[in-house]
Each structure stands twice: as C-alpha cells, then as structure tokens.
C-alpha cells in the first residue's frame, strides 16, 4: 500500500537514533551518576546500614513495581495495587493475631491474587479500560480494608513471630530484602526469558497482530493482573510484618509511587516495551533521591518537585524515542 513502507519515516526505532540509544541505556546512567554523587556528597550514604535500610524500605515497592512492569508491558495498568497492598496487610495482620503466621501470610497473598484475577477478568471479559477498572477496584478494595479494621490500626506487637517473615536476618541482610530480590528476579526472568513474557510484549505491542499469530492475548493480560495482585498482596504482608502493624489507608499513594518507578525506569506507559531490571533501578533511583534529600538536609519541599521533573523527563524520552526522527 505504501511507498513509504520501507522509507526512513517508518524506521522510528533505528538503533542510531539518539533517543533510542538513550532509552536503551536508559536509567542505568543517571542511576550510577546519582549513586556516585551521593557517595561523594554524603559520608553516611555509602554505608551498609544506609543502603540496606533503603532496600528494606523499598522492598514492598520493588515487588509491586516489578509485577506492575508486566502489566504495563502487556498493555494494561493496575491502579489497585495500593489498595490491595493495604487489604492484604490488614488481612494478614488480623489473621496473624488469631491464627498461625503461615495462614496469615498465605491468605494475605491469596487476597491479592484474587483481586488480581477479578481485575484481569473485568478488563478482558467486560472490556473495561484497565485504568478505570482498576481505579474502581481500588475503591472497592479500600472499602473492604476499612471494613475489616473499622478504621483502626491493627497492632501485632504481641505476635512478634509474624515479624519473622520480614525481620529475620540471613547473611546479615533482612528477609524482607531477600524476598524482594527473589521476587524481582523471578518476575524479571518470567518477562525476559519465558514464552509467557514474549506473549506479554506481543500483547502490549500489537494486540491484534499477537492474536492473529495465535497468542492468547486475554489470558496473558489476566496473568499479568494476577501477578500484580499477588505481588501487591505479598508486599502488603511483608510491610505488615516489617512494622508489626497494618492499617487500611497505608497504601493510598502507593500505586502512583510504583507507577513512577516503572516509568522512570523506562518502561513505556503505552505497552510493548520495558524490562523489570529497569523498574528495579527506577524505583531505587527515586528512593535515592529521597535518601539524598534526607542525608544532605535539603528542604524536602523540593523533593516532590524534583520527582515530578524526573518523571516528565522519563516520559518525554519515551515519546521522543517513539516519534519519528524526521518529525
């Protein structure tokens, strides 16, 4: 049909395009730059305590963001993760105060998986836009959380065994960090190395082409929502265990923090492109900025502004890379 089919205009992803190269190396360069800068600027930054502390605090975000990367790559978005995180936290905490910690953990994660499944089915079967579907779901789930806690903080100081999930030291590193790292690696391998991962890229990149090539696009999308829900559930349980308490409103802004980490990492909000290792760096990049403000004693007012500018820059690079070099 088109004379221009093979013409440069249709070669937006030419590897020599500067934006494409920028996106390929992406978050790694600024991450290293920030890391080095902070190491020089603050003597307390490059210490085991500080770095492990950052990872411990980011464990939940890392897990959810890794899974959220799958959702975005497959062409969806999950705004319910914050609410699911809270619900799983309070579910786990309530159960831990009554039964064994194992039951609490399993059911906490199970709640997340269940919400993820509902999300996936609503998006694929009812054909409701993922943004709206998961936003609506976040209200429902949030309400359920408040129903369970009656708006109170669930405190578990009398059940310290529940804290073992996140607070056990293995080789001098807390189990919350180990769990997060394992989750990130497993999800990363799922996306990068398995057939399911390939199908996720295809589903998000060009759903109709994927369908015609025999890919079960809807099944893949459901899978990503289930993984995302399960990850949010796990994260909620881990944080409840980490601080031995939980409340229904704890994850209110988490969905956006997670999304920011994913996008700053360079995963496209439009689907079909992205990687879990990028998200890992993206989340930590944002965490480092917060850490830097703390350590250097800068006015935290500017932290949010900085974050906003970085987020816009990341999205701009993505859209620049997608745009045609001649436009």
């Amino acid at each position: 049909m088109s004379a221009a089919a093979g013409m440069p205009r249709r070669r937006p992803m030419h590897p020599s395009h500067p934006a494409e190269r920028l996106r390929a190396t992406g978050i790694a360069l600024p991450f290293v730059a920030l890391f080095v800068t902070l190491s020089i600027a603050s003597s307390s930054f490059l210490t085991k305590v500080n770095l492990l502390n950052i990872l411990d605090q980011q464990a939940a975000t890392l897990i959810i963001a890794a899974a959220g990367t799958l959702v975005l790559v497959a062409g969806g978005i999950d705004l319910s993760v914050g609410a699911v995180y809270s619900l799983a936290g309070v579910t786990g905490a309530e159960l831990a105060s009554r039964t064994s910690p194992v039951v609490a953990i399993v059911l906490g994660v199970g709640v997340g998986l269940a919400v993820g499944l509902v999300n996936g089915l609503v998006v694929t079967r009812l054909r409701i836009n993922a943004l709206i579907a998961t936003l609506a779901m976040s209200f429902v789930v949030s309400g359920l959380g408040t129903l369970i806690t009656h708006g109170n903080l669930v405190v578990l100081f009398e059940h310290p065994e529940f804290g073992d999930l996140a607070r056990t030291h293995i080789f001098g590193v807390k189990s919350s960090i180990w769990i997060a790292l394992v989750a990130v690696v497993v999800i990363g391998v799922l996306l990068a190395r398995t057939t399911a991962g390939r199908y996720m890229y295809a589903s998000g990149g060009n759903a109709e082409a994927a369908r015609l090539a025999g890919v079960r696009v809807d099944a893949m999308r459901v899978l990503t929502f289930v993984v995302s829900g399960g990850a949010a559930g796990l994260a909620g349980v881990i944080d409840a265990s980490r601080v031995l308490s939980a409340q229904a409103a704890s994850g209110d802004t988490l969905a956006f923090t997670v999304l920011a980490g994913i996008v700053v990492g360079g995963t496209s909000i439009l689907g079909g492109e992205g990687a879990v290792w990028r998200t890992f760096l993206g989340v930590l990049f944002i965490a480092l900025i917060g850490n830097g403000y703390d350590l250097l004693g800068l006015d935290p007012l500017y932290e949010q502004i900085t974050l906003g500018v970085i987020l816009l820059t990341a999205v701009a690079i993505d859209s620049w890379a997608r745009s045609r070099p001649d436009r």
């Binding site: 004379a3 221009a4 013409m7 992803m13 991962g197 060009n206 082409a209 090539a213």
Partner: protein, 501 residues
C-alpha cells in the same frame, strides 16, 4: 496560467538536494525542475528516496544539503505549515482528517472564517459551497468526515489544500488505499487540478497510473535521479528498467498446473460472517486461488472468517481431514491454516520488537522448553527461516521497523510458514512493496504451491491475480459471483464480474 511566453514557467526547482537518516543516504544530490501546471511523477523502488523527496518539497523534511526554489526564489521550508504559506500542500497516503469534525470543518480546519474570535458557521458553509463547486467535488458539508469512505476523505484533503490556495500539491501514493473506481475518480481530479494551472507532484508505485497521468516522470534509484523524461516517451518496461538498473525478466513465475486429483485442502461451505453472505469455495493442494473484487466486496472479511479472526455466524470451514474447524486464529494455526493479514503494520508486525521475536512469535513452543525460550535455538531457527525465505535483515536483534516493506512482508511469511501450514491465506501480500520484492513474493507463493500448499490469494492488482492464480473467484457484495479458470481468466472478464450491477 502558464506564464507569459510559450515556455512553461518553472514552478519548483531542486538543486543538489541531499538527505541522510543516520547512516542511510536517502537522497544524494538530486536536481530536478517541475513546470507550473504540470503533473510530475516520482517513481522508484522502496528506499529509492521518492517519498523523502516529496516530503522535502512539502516542508515535512528539511534537506541536509542543496536548495529548493519556488518560482525561482530559494526557500527554506521548516514545516508543512510554512510550506502551506508558500502555496505547497501535501496529501499523504494516510488520510489526515479529524473524524469527528464535519467535512466543511475539516476543509477549513485552522483557517476558519471568524467573527470576533468565534467561527462563523454561515460563512463557513458559504465558503465551503463555493469551493466545492469550483473544484467540482461534491461532498456532504455537514457529514462527519469519519463516516466517509477513504476516497471521499482524500477529497476532503484535496479541498483543504485548495482552500489554502495551494499552487503545488504533493501527493504521496494517493491511490494506494483506493479501489479501482475510486482511483479513476481521483485521477480525474488530479487532471482537473493541472488543468486549473496547479502543479502536482505525484509519488507513486503504480507505473500505469504514472504513465496515464503524468506529464513528466523522474526515476529515482538509491537516492539519485536516474532520469527525468516526458511520460509519453516511457513505457512500464523502460521505467522498471530504470528503477532496477536492469530489465525485469519475467513478472511472474511460470504456473505449474495443480494435478487433477489434488486433495481439497480447504473447503468452505456456505460461510456467513459480517460482509460475507454465504460463501462456498474449495482450494486444492498445490493450487493458487485468487479472490478478486472491488475494495469492500468482502474478500478480507472472508479471509478473516476462514482464519477465525472474525467469528463466522454460519457455515463451516474444513481441512483435508474433513473436520470442521472451530475456535480462533490460535486453533486455526494449529490445524494448519495460516494468514498473512492485509495490513502488516496494524495486524502483523510488532514494529518495535526484534526480527527474531517477530519471526518466532507464532511458533515459540518449538524453541522453548518448560515455558522458557531457548534463545540459541530460536536464533538459529530464525536465521534459517530468513535465509530460506530470503529476508534481508541487518541483524536478528534489530527492530522489525528497520526492515523494508518487502522484507517485513517476507518476515510475516517466515512467521507463519514456520508453523507448517497446509493452507495459506495471503491478503494483499505485495501491497506497498517494491518491484524486486514483489517478484520474490510471487516466487515464494508459487514455490509454496509447488510444495503442496493450498493458497488463497487476495489481491487488488489484477495483473497479479491473473499472473499467479490457477483459478480466480470474483467477489461482489459478500458473495462469490463468478469463477474463472484457464482461458476465461482475462482482465475484462474479472472486471465485468466485479463491477456488474
């Protein structure tokens, strides 16, 4: 309008124009002049630089070197908007209308008659009617442009160009998406534009169209001008020779007759689906059956229904085994039916993903174990497939978007052929590919038939239908209205069946 003397005035002049994209040299010192009021055609293979040249004239692209002169005055067009101010408008192959706005609103988009900052609807309507009348284009002023057929939308764009008093109109493959009748209409419009003294720069793939319309033809090859000559002195063969740098020996591979007792590999019985009104057909092993017909006759819909991409409402599709197929594309692929979709960009490729990922997408199971992709095996198999089906790719890791149109198309062939189909549905497999790649695809289709595949070919190019197919089925309004074979397969017979009221 043609100047003061007898000599036609030069309207557009390009001197030593070059353009690079990264390492790719799209244009290399192109010089050319276009007379006012003439129709000037640019032809060449994909990648020869003709669209790039069109875009430079239209202000979409800026040249790296060289000069562009309009009416003898050097200009630097930095955007299509600036070009418009200089009287240059571009009409692309993809139609650019705002579907929600009405025809008249689209025509005057960005140049609405205003009173006190508000659009004056009455003035808009008056000016639209004047314009439509002068141009002889009748379109309903108040209909949303999105409801119009592609050809009508193109007329909206032409009106828009005229509304801005464009003196020079650059048309990039204006008929690529049009059916035969609509194409003829557009040709008439182009002629009338020239008669009214406007200059048309026509970028086209269709040599017949070029020969029929253009006053002068410029042939490009590898970014350089091979020659500019009056169209009257050219033939299709001479143009092809100039475009390729060699004569094209034969347009089509020899047809080998399918054996008489060949197995029916595809039997469609009374199939109903949206735009398909009860179609029955049979394709035998080793046979290429072409579906001819006008755009909108239901050919693509039929192929999609056979492939399960659109669910049939009634009827059956059977393979050689005699079992009726059910399910969607996934089930069809497994059963041995493959489809090359009509639009490779929209329905075929993952443009941003690598060549390897694109090729292996439909048969990933064959190179994976326990759900993990064995990437070494995948690369080897992809490399073999690309070699076998002559896809040229710089590297397996480069994105599908970096391939030429022909290679993208062959990539899609490689993807589905790796599934080992018995039946191949090929919907416009040569659309938008250059002449060399066309021949390669013809060879491929013939070779597949030789191997015993049944091929159902949809093509809007009559030559292709007649040159490749053993049998031609003509569709009209969702039904098969004629079947032609052997001697009966002539252009006039196909057209008569396609157009008959």
């Amino acid at each position: 309008m043609a100047g003061l003397g007898d000599q036609p005035r030069t309207h557009v002049e390009l001197a030593g124009v070059s353009k690079h994209f990264g390492a790719v040299r799209a244009l290399d010192g192109v010089s050319l002049s276009i007379a006012r009021g003439s129709i000037h055609a640019l032809v060449g293979e994909n990648g020869a630089g003709k669209s790039t040249l069109g875009k430079i004239v239209a202000g979409v692209l800026a040249p790296d070197a060289g000069r562009l002169l309009l009416d003898g005055e050097e200009v630097a067009l930095r955007s299509p908007r600036e070009a418009l101010v200089r009287g240059v408008a571009a009409i692309g192959q993809e139609v650019n209308v705002v579907p929600q706005l009405t025809v008249e609103e689209n025509v005057f988009l960005g140049a609405e008659p205003r009173g006190a900052g508000f659009v004056s609807r009455r003035a808009l309507r008056r000016r639209y009617e004047q314009l439509a009348e002068t141009a002889g284009l009748n379109l309903p002023a108040a209909t949303p442009a999105g409801r119009l057929a592609p050809a009508e939308q193109q007329k909206v764009e032409i009106l828009r160009a005229l509304a801005r008093n464009a003196e020079l109109i650059v048309m990039d493959e204006p008929t690529a998406a049009l059916g035969a009748e609509e194409t003829a209409q557009l040709h008439e419009i182009v002629r009338s534009l020239a008669r009214a003294g406007r200059t048309v720069l026509l970028v086209s793939h269709f040599l017949r169209e070029v020969l029929a319309l253009a006053d002068e033809v410029t042939v490009l090859r590898d970014g350089q001008v091979v020659r500019t000559a009056p169209a009257g002195e050219q033939t299709e063969d001479s143009l092809i020779h100039a475009m390729l740098g060699r004569p094209l020996t034969a347009a089509f591979p020899p047809k080998r007759a399918a054996s008489e007792d060949a197995l029916a590999v595809l039997t469609v019985r009374d199939l109903h689906a949206p735009h398909v009104e009860g179609v029955s057909l049979t394709v035998h092993a080793g046979e290429i059956v072409a579906l001819a017909g006008l755009v909108g006759a239901g050919r693509t819909e039929l192929a999609r229904a056979v492939y399960g991409a659109a669910r049939p409402t009634a009827g059956s599709v059977e393979l050689a085994t005699g079992d009726a197929l059910s399910g969607g594309p996934r089930a069809r692929l497994r059963a041995g039916v493959a489809m090359i979709p009509e639009s490779r960009k929209e329905d075929g490729l993952l443009l941003g993903r690598s060549v390897t990922e694109n090729v292996s997408l439909a048969s990933l199971g064959a190179v994976s174990r326990y759900g993990f992709v064995r990437r070494g095996a995948e690369r080897r198999r992809t490399r073999e497939a690309l070699d076998r089906w002559t896809v040229r790719a710089d590297s397996l890791g480069s994105p599908a978007s970096s391939l030429s149109g022909g290679n993208q198309q062959k990539l899609l062939f490689a993807r589905v052929l790796l599934c080992g189909p018995k039946v191949l549905l090929a919907d416009e497999p040569t659309r938008g590919v250059d002449i060399g790649a066309k021949r390669a695809i013809y060879d491929l289709l013939a070779a597949l038939a030789d191997e015993g595949l049944g091929v159902l070919l949809i093509s809007s190019e009559l030559e292709e239908v007649l040159g490749l197919a053993h049998r031609v089925l003509v569709m009209r309004a969702g039904r098969i209205v004629d079947e032609l074979a052997g001697e009966q397969m002539t252009e006039s017979a196909v057209l008569a069946a396609a157009f008959a009221a």
